[in-house]
Amino acid sequence: MNPGVGTVYRWELTKLRYQKRTYLGLGAAAIVPIIFVVAIHFRHNQRGGDFAFASYLTRSGLAVPLVIILFGAVWMFPLITALVAGDIFASEDHNGTLKTIFTRSLERGQIFAGKALAAATYAIAAILLDGTVAVIAGSMQSGFNSLQSLSGTIVSAPKALELVYVSLLVYLIPIGTVVCIGLLLSSITRNSAAAVVGTLMISLLFQLIGILPGLGGTVPYLLSTQFNAWQGLLRTPIDWAPIVRAAWVCAMYGIPSLAAAYLVFLRRDVAGG
């Protein structure tokens, strides 16, 4: 069989299974909801905070994944995503293995595509794992109950569960952009730590810009804002505007990053290793 993008993709997933950072990221994605639920359990007599679904945390476990993705956007999910996206090219430099794989029968473009898909797959897995653990742990703590939407209407538990997963999918739009930024920094810096930290810093920078006085007009177009687009799904009727905006704003950041990463990877000299 002739090798192709699928070959690289499968082997990149295999390689991820051997690496500690994969388990570190997925482990964090799984354990944070559990810690969160334990915290709710011990603080159930106290009044909830002033944020979306805060008051529902003790009434429906389905509020738990939504609150976690709300706060996870600050640094947790960008970090988990960057752990692999920022490392996937840089680790080849670290191990000196680019020269090994570049002298086989695959074009550089195929290798790039396989790696990018693997990094995206890991990010998707981390978000869905986090959401699923949060639903299970939240339901065990607060029950599998109906949820009040942001418009005040009551949504049945099965419908709310569906909305939770669709929200997670919408959440993957800005996460995809973080993947692209991670790939770019991984490709440019050739250093895993620099790429992971750099990706996180860029995510935090977007949030910083959003709170700077005088820059309020930029807020709708910041990457950090797009992490809240899923909230449009929790309104009655559904507000598609933030979701549509998230799609093109994220594309605006993500596609140039991905294209630049591709060109750097394609044209780079492999002089080390």
Binding site: K99, I101, F102, R104
Partner: protein, 331 residues
């Protein structure tokens, strides 16, 4: 229409290869031709440009100027140019967290065309079958070198480019590597190897290119290189002072000098015979006359440093190292 071997392009054809990094010229116009069946040594001091040019041959580095053709195809245009080509530059590298076998499975999958089916055979050839399930991170340098050869063999190559395959190996490892390269050559695989081990190159290779400061100072048969270097002799007589004068006066005797109490000179067989007679006639009877055939190492140092490496005293091309010309320039 099939192409006869005589018409088929050579395994390696490099013309005017240049690589510059800013102001630094790492490779300054390399021309190399490796023909089918050659075991070709690529020699040069550290930093001379060997590895950089090998990387360009494998398509890892984009040349500033010049062309590389492997069996007539340009490795910078497509990885398809590497069909039938395998090897490694500097130390072969693998994923340390996976086993040797797993690494080969990955590379076999990246090769396609049934390469994975050859893993057992390749491991057998490099004698790594017993350690194939251990993580590469725990392999010794020699084991990684052998795994590198195994990875190359998966591609069932017609041409192998090996960058210092014996570097860092213990004497037994070096011997094994030599045997392995010889075996590959016997199987009809064209081999191009760079090495610091000149005795090894002399033993294994039929051709060499010597690179110095990014430029090829010799390319051709080793035998021809040694012929070009001439044979030197050391002489002791009953009257060395008179013998020295006779040597200097004798035609076809070159590079006459005293060296550690002996007279040394270069000459061919006929000139030595004539010199013997002249010495007898002059009353300087020969006590010792020893031919000193130049080794590849002597010639290497002559070409790269302009001195006799063993004695560090003379240039085979002239008195001044900076004016030294190669015994034979690149084709």
């Amino acid at each position: 229409m099939s192409v006869s071997p005589a018409e088929s392009p050579p395994p390696v054809e490099v013309r005017g290869l240049v690589k510059r990094y800013g102001d630094l010229t790492a490779v300054a116009g390399v021309d190399i031709t490796v023909n089918t069946g050659d075991v070709y040594g690529y020699l040069g001091p550290n930093g001379a440009g060997k590895t950089t040019s090998l990387r360009m041959m494998l398509g890892l580095i984009r040349p500033t100027a010049g062309t590389v053709r492997l069996f007539g195809r340009d490795p910078m245009l497509s990885v398809k140019a590497l069909e039938g080509v395998a090897g490694f530059v500097e130390a072969p590298t693998f994923y340390p967290y996976m086993s040797g076998r797993r690494n080969l499975e990955l590379l076999g999958a990246f090769d396609g065309h049934g390469a994975s089916a050859r893993i057992d055979e390749a491991l057998e050839i490099v004698e790594l079958s017993d350690r194939a399930r251990d993580k590469v991170g725990g392999y010794s340098h020699g084991m990684r070198q052998r795994l590198g050869i195994a990875a190359a063999l998966l591609r069932r190559p017609n041409l192998m480019l090996l960058d210092e395959p014996a570097t860092g190996l213990d004497p037994a490892g070096m011997r094994d590597m030599r045997v392995l390269v010889r075996r590959l050559a016997d199987q009809g695989i064209t081999v191009m190897l760079s090495s610091h081990l000149l005795a090894e190159v002399e033993e294994l290779c039929n051709k060499v290119a010597i690179i110095q400061a990014g430029t090829i100072v010799y390319e051709g048969e080793i035998a021809e290189l040694k012929r070009g270097g001439g044979t030197s002799y050391r002489l002791a007589t009953t009257d060395d002072e008179r013998a020295l004068a006779v040597c200097r006066a004798q035609p076809n005797i070159g590079d006459v000098r005293t060296d550690h109490g002996r007279i040394s000179f270069t000459a061919d067989d006929a000139a030595v015979a004539e010199l013997s007679q002249a010495l007898v006639e002059a009353g300087a009877l020969i006590r010792v006359l020893t031919p000193q055939t130049m080794t590849l190492e002597d010639l290497f140092f002559s070409l790269t440093e302009g001195t006799d490496g063993a004695r560090g005293e003379r240039s085979i091309a002239g008195e001044h190292p900076e004016s030294a010309e190669p015994a034979e320039t690149a084709r």
